[in-house]
Symmetry: C2
Subunit: 169 residues, 2 copies
Amino acid sequence: MTSTAVTHPLVDDFKDAFRGHPAGVAIITAEGSEGPVGLTASSVSSVSAVPPIVAFSLASAQGSAGVIGAAETVVVHLLGADNAELAAVFASAGSERFGPDRAWTRLPGGEPLLHGVPRALVCRVMSRMQAGSSILLAAGVEEIVTGPPAAPLVYHDRTFHHLGDHSAL
Amino acid sequence: MTSTAVTHPLVDDFKDAFRGHPAGVAIITAEGSEGPVGLTASSVSSVSAVPPIVAFSLASAQGSAGVIGAAETVVVHLLGADNAELAAVFASAGSERFGPDRAWTRLPGGEPLLHGVPRALVCRVMSRMQAGSSILLAAGVEEIVTGPPAAPLVYHDRTFHHLGDHSAL
């Protein structure tokens, strides 16, 4: 690779590798100056239980990701198998995310809470770290909203999966 | 919660929430001053494809996690369904991880490479961020070693699962 290379020689292999690395699915929302924003993320992980801290990454500083990356508080919704359609909407560019047909309300702090999701973690962002053109965020969990229980949702190789006895090893 | 509280009131809810949030499974290895170390991690995610960057977190600065947290280079092995036993070994305190029965070699840089794993990403740590008592790391991928293909491995609610047509939604 020369210093002027536009693409990285490992990009295709890297994408292949992570297509084989499944992930739980979340929607992260925040309240911006122009209203609520949200996006589907497969990078949410538990960093620490005592105190409760999550991490996630954002691939862009534009649009919804830019608003979430700059927010003081966010809501991390951990999705269940019943939320696959919701995940697809919040992953699609230009989709209507908080329209009249969407079940959501604002929390006392103004953050958008999506209904019908097993768990929503209301978080305060603690720190941000640049990584290439993406940013990594760590956020402390201040409140947990419990919704209807559901089988977990997994994203793998561009397809949603659900887990249960049928998938256990 | 008072400032002297030892446990956080949300800890149990938080653990419940992440028991319902499945994750791909990885083993991260590094070469320490006293030999190879490695641990099982469910926090590995893709942060950026161009350039290829991964992130993961370490819950401790002791033992294997301390060595990996201080290493300049690490190997992130993305596990397949055939590697569930390997994942259990590298998740167990005091287990023999690089004994004579383990198939592994050292890469030219000295990093331990476990054999029989679908993908191993040889990474250089770019940055570290403290989050509570854990640390978050971002690492650039410098080489990808491809092993035998396998169905993906998922960790959910303390059980390993595999994905395939049976689990697709």
